[in-house]
Amino acid sequence: MLSNKPVNHFSLSAYQVELLPMAQTHQDLLRNWRNQDEIRRQMLSDEPISEEQQQAWFKKTQLDPKQLHWVIKFRDQFIGATNVKSLENGNTVEQTSLLEPGLYIGERRYQGNIIAFAPTLAMYDFCFDQLGTKRFRAVVKRSNQNALSYNQKLGYAIVDDEELMVLELDVESYRQATAPIKQFLSRTRNAK
């Protein structure tokens, strides 16, 4: 059931990035990123998105308590988008124990950069620590080796090894796997 007001009121700031609730003003940028060939190819639904489709998607999504969407800001620039969706029928993001994450880095210079871990770390910390999430489940195309490698560095384990691979992550595996990278992304800036 949809809410009568936007559901994402969580602004997050950690590991050098800010996650801001997705808003109307971000839609053109999001659509441009989403329609880049290299991003579209890795999506489970890879058709280009029209402006009308984007608007319809945003109007529904911002009121859906089963999902939360953020835009990622780094050094005063928007660089990508991230989200979580509840995988339990009838349960909102705040009620569910199982979430599916989504991420894309739209700015090419930061794709594959170590900063690409920061929005995920900020979002997962928030979900595990504030929302009480127990597990994440990611579904990745087998051909998307970058995403597989990325998820495994976060501590995900493969639970279904088909063409669409299913990976799962619990909080202990996450904390153990991400401790070193968190340390590097948590240093003060301009420390010298």
């Binding site: 170590i114 490698s149 560095k153 070193p180 590097f184 992304l185 240093r187 420390a191 010298k192």
Partner: protein
């Protein structure tokens, strides 16, 4: 061993690649050996070899061997 050779050896040790592959144009994430995990090992190795403590912005920006030299120069490491 001069600083250029020290840098080359640090990259070679951290990434597990031959020193001759460590050229200015070598870029993060373009070879399997230089992924995010190796990047952290590399940062630790450079900090140890050159006795510096890099800040997070420099860790993020260290995207090539050439860039590593520029960043280390900010920490008074000379590649003359």
């Amino acid at each position: 061993m001069d600083t250029q050779q020290k840098l080359q050896q640090a990259f070679s040790d951290a990434l597990g690649i031959p020193p001759e592959k460590v050229i200015d144009g070598l870029t993060y994430n373009t070879i399997p050996e230089w992924d995010s995990t190796a990047h952290m090992v590399l940062i630790a190795e450079l900090e140890n070899v050159f006795d510096v403590m890099l800040d997070t912005d420099d860790i993020i920006d260290m995207s090539s061997v050439a860039q590593a030299k520029l960043i280390l120069q900010k920490y008074d490491v000379s590649f003359a």
